[in-house]
């Protein structure tokens, strides 16, 4: 369905002869003047006429279709379309079909997602599986589409359909473990799904899952932050859980990007974690040969290394170092 093929020649159509088109008023001397194409001008002139007359008719509905094809971002046309759909009592499942092609061509258009939401709200729980399927399709085109994720979260909370969501997150992370949106959705599911029992109930299996992801790609920011999130409001368990400190140690002992392992260990130390000699040796081996002499304070040594391996954020690591309690060493 191409926009070009669909253009009605309204001015030559007897069905539209009763309506006087209203031309665009761009004001006296446009600040951001706009050059319009002739078919756009004609469509919009007739749209303004039906809009002004509040004409809720099948031909007006058809006209909004045409105007949307020409400019899917025009929110006034979408608004008016909803008024017509309401007035004519159109089957909204048909409307969902109408939206498919437009959505795939304009995946980041606010109006399309908003319209979709309006329809799903009206259709109620029956729409849940259809909406989850639709967002899945959109996310297969762009797995980080912010609108699609936002819509999906709304569907889950308002209409349900949580059953397979954790599996879906897993599937997306299999495809791309760096996908922060999928990690965020995973957190959304374990904290909000009515079926899983919340963070406490899922922590054990989630920690295992996350550690595996970290060991696969130690430079991946998302699972490190996710791991921390699993201990939200429970810093004691975070410090005392040997799984957390040992993943740091494993990464530090491997040939890898060490930034997140070092920064996590730094956070642990700042919260009272007591590191043994094994940690000291692993950190010490990462000290660049030309850096400051080893500090008896492990946290300070870590900051010095981070200043070195992450020079873009040297000021941040310097600040972290300056914030460390000074009484520990000497």
């Amino acid at each position: 369905m191409d926009a070009e093929e669909h253009i009605l020649r309204l001015s030559q159509d007897p069905e539209w002869a009763d309506l006087t088109p209203i031309p665009q008023d761009d004001g006296p001397n446009p600040v951001v003047p706009i050059a319009y194409k002739p078919d756009f001008i004609e469509t919009m002139d007739y749209f303004r006429a039906v809009y002004k007359a509040n004409e809720f008719s099948p031909r007006a509905l058809q006209l909004t279709h045409q105007a949307i094809l020409l400019n899917p971002g025009n929110y006034t046309v979408w608004h008016f379309r909803r008024l017509i759909l309401d007035a004519l009592g159109i089957d909204l499942n048909e409307e969902l079909n109408f939206m498919l092609g437009i959505s795939e061509r304009n995946p980041k258009n606010y109006q399309i997602w908003h319209h979709r939401r309006w329809i799903a709200e009206k259709l109620g729980t029956d729409a849940a599986s259809k909406e989850l399927e639709f967002t899945r399709r959109m996310l297969s085109l762009d797995a980080k589409n912010y609108h699609a994720w936002s819509h999906r979260q709304w569907v889950l909370q308002a209409l349900g359909g949580w059953e397979n969501e954790l599996d879906y997150c897993h599937q997306l992370l299999e495809e791309d473990v760096f996908n922060n949106s999928a990690w965020n959705q995973r957190y959304f599911v374990v904290t909000r799904s009515p079926l899983l029992g919340g963070l406490e109930a899922t922590r054990e299996s989630e920690v295992k899952y996350t550690i595996e992801a970290i060991l696969g790609n130690p430079g991946n920011e998302s699972p490190w932050r996710y791991l921390r999130g699993l201990y939200k409001n429970d810093p004691k368990s975070w410090i005392s859980d040997p799984q957390v400190s040992s993943v740091c140690l494993k990464v530090l002992s491997a040939e890898a990007n060490h930034v997140f392992a070092l920064s996590t260990l730094l956070d642990l130390l700042s919260h009272g974690f007591q590191a043994n000699q094994e940690f000291r040796d692993a950190v010490d081996s990462l000290r660049p040969s030309n850096s400051d002499p080893a500090d008896s304070d492990l946290a300070k040594t870590i900051c010095s290394i981070l200043r070195h391996v992450d020079p873009m954020r040297v000021n941040y690591w310097t600040w972290r170092k300056s914030k460390l309690p000074s009484a520990v060493s000497v």
Partner: protein
Amino acid sequence: MGELVVDKHVKYILSVEKRKDSFESVVLEHLRMNGAYWGLATLDLLGKLDALDSNEVIEWIMKCQHESGGFAGNIGHDPHMLYTLSAVQVLALFDKLNVLDADKVANYISGLQNEDGSFSGDEWGEVDSRFSYLAICCLSILHCLDKINMEKAVNYIASCKNVDGGFGCTPGGESHAGQIFCCVGALAITGSLHHVDKDLLGWWLCERQVKSGGLNGRPEKLPDVCYSWWVLSSLIMIDRVHWINKDKLVKFILNCQDTENGGISDRPEDAVDVYHTYFGVAGLSLLEYPGLKAIDPAHALPVDVVNRIFFQK
């Protein structure tokens, strides 16, 4: 790389109509109010706002206002919070807020606050923390913040906070630099920055700087000039802007200029547009690039304009 080609950018903004690529012009039509704000704010930051006749602009803006008090993106369109803030900001640039019935605009905005403290963008009810910012920024400029339930508004924004320190569009939504700007901006304006975990968010934000020096909006995304604004303004509001490498970011933005015809693009070698030209210049202003007016990170208006509004200076 070179310097900021100020004169070329001014010429570019003033001649936007010359490029008649029909698709771009069609999709701009309904959001002309945003375009006006981006273009005029850029001119003001470059010290060239007087290149335009303000009376004609103001006349057009007032034709976009509805009965309800809200503004549309263009004449004959429906009102929306997005365009209402842009309209008020442009009037503020020209020192013409007095042509407004502030109460009327404020009533439109307060009417869009929901029971849970969130805001809808228009009568159709879409909710997003962006709209909380638009409402609060606009009411602040109009000295009408007392028209809304501030406590609920702030609590809703706080509920959009994530464990990484960032904010999303709704509770549970992924942290995104644009949403973070909106939430931190609204909290800054309402004196509620204690809801922000500044150190954690500051680290997340400075992690957005990639090798090229540019900033992205989420982990593993490409850098983009517009994020210079969203990330930098947030870092300034929480007092952590020194955590990024400013020199590299300046170079990245300057590399996105069209040095021949003016304008700034999202990434080097891409096509320029008004939106990225504004965010590039505004980003450089936050980085204290010489010759540019200073910009207020919360209200997204030049500091002299903000001083005029709040201190009659």
